[in-house]
Point group: C2
Chain length 220, copies 2
């Protein structure tokens, strides 16, 4: 189990929400900032080791054991994120990169103790669910992308995509964090941007941002 293996399985897991369940070589390569040829090499290795099922020119799916490993890596990553945020006071745009390194320290015992020390957090600072020791994800209010709501809807943010720390800084400035409540004011069809009201301030969210935020509809 190498760092590289960890990263590939985690990437494949997070890209698995496709129609057929297959994840393409290019998607993996892009996610991991590497070349498609490198991804192919690695995928073949993961296949031989039983972590993924690979069909040439079609893509990969995680096996049960591969999924288990991916969830362990994600668990470690998110628990470390909570630690860095809650205990060391890092801003939420800073925790991802550090957790990216800490997640490769593989001691189930240490992670369990850390989880207990943090009082069993269920979600990381971006609102992503933390798998428990046997890979179960906590239930979360049914959420959809912010750009899928209708004008007039009152919603509560459940999570935001953590892949761009620049965007996180921007979002925090407007208090667009998990738990925040907002109202959809307008939808602009020409560029899919939306106008929302949050804490009495009205701001414009680009299509890219709106699709990076997940929220639940509030009972009115």
């Amino acid at each position: 189990m190498s760092t590289s293996t960890d990263n590939y399985l985690k990437a494949i897991y997070s890209l698995s929400n496709t129609e057929d369940g297959f994840v393409t070589t290019n998607a993996i390569a892009e996610k991991l900032q590497t070349k498609p040829s490198s991804a192919t090499d690695m995928i073949k290795k993961l296949d031989r080791q039983g972590w993924v099922a690979y069909t040439k020119y079609q893509g990969v799916t995680l096996t049960e054991s591969g999924k288990k490993i991916a969830l362990e890596v994600i668990r470690r990553h998110r628990i470390w994120e909570v630690f860095l945020s809650d205990k060391l006071g890092f801003a939420w745009d800073e925790v991802h990169d550090l957790a990216e390194q800490l997640e490769h320290v593989t001691s189930a015992e240490m992670i369990s103790r850390l989880e207990s020390y943090l009082q069993y957090p269920q979600f990381d600072p971006h609102g992503d669910p933390i798998p428990d020791a046997i890979g179960r994800l906590p239930k979360r209010p049914k959420s959809i992308r912010l750009d899928a709501f209708m004008v007039g809807d009152k919603v509560r943010i459940t999570s935001v995509d953590d892949s761009s720390s620049e965007m996180l800084v921007y979002l925090e400035k407007y208090n667009a964090v998990p738990g925040a409540e907002l109202t959809i004011k307008k939808c602009f069809d020409f560029d899919n941007s939306i106008q929302v009201k949050i804490k009495s301030k009205t701001i414009l969210l680009s299509s890219k941002i709106a699709s990076s935020i997940q929220a639940e509809k509030m009972k009115t």
Copy 2:
């Protein structure tokens, strides 16, 4: 800067207390549980990169920059040890191996915050000094090996060698931890073992153990 580089520089630093200051290839290989030929290869690379000065068949010494790196690794290692012990409740024989992995996460900012969170500890759980952010080691009472004292001396343990967790378990059982006070009762010349009184219990320490404990003489 790889994990391997970290480990070699750390090993060389800890082996540098020789007469001439040179550390031999074999010593490094043994410390890192690898083969002398591997150590030679790596040493040549470290030399090319400017971390050590290498003379064939003689050994290596750390350069100033190499020493700086080594102290950074040691700093990270020991601060993590304190965290694992103080905050996560790991026993002192368990922290070394975990810190061995955590020490390779290289973020000066994170370590500084962790240090602050732990309230600036000066020594790790085994009594070893923690370098500050610019590599300065805290002053420590003048300590010598336990087997160098005389019968009748009252001494206080300052540190114990942390390389064998089995020994640490044994020592903890008899409260032979940093800070503990004891009296040298007898010295057996035939095997260099010593008898000491600690917390009203008299125990026998083998030569190996006695030489793994550092202590300071107490004013009587």
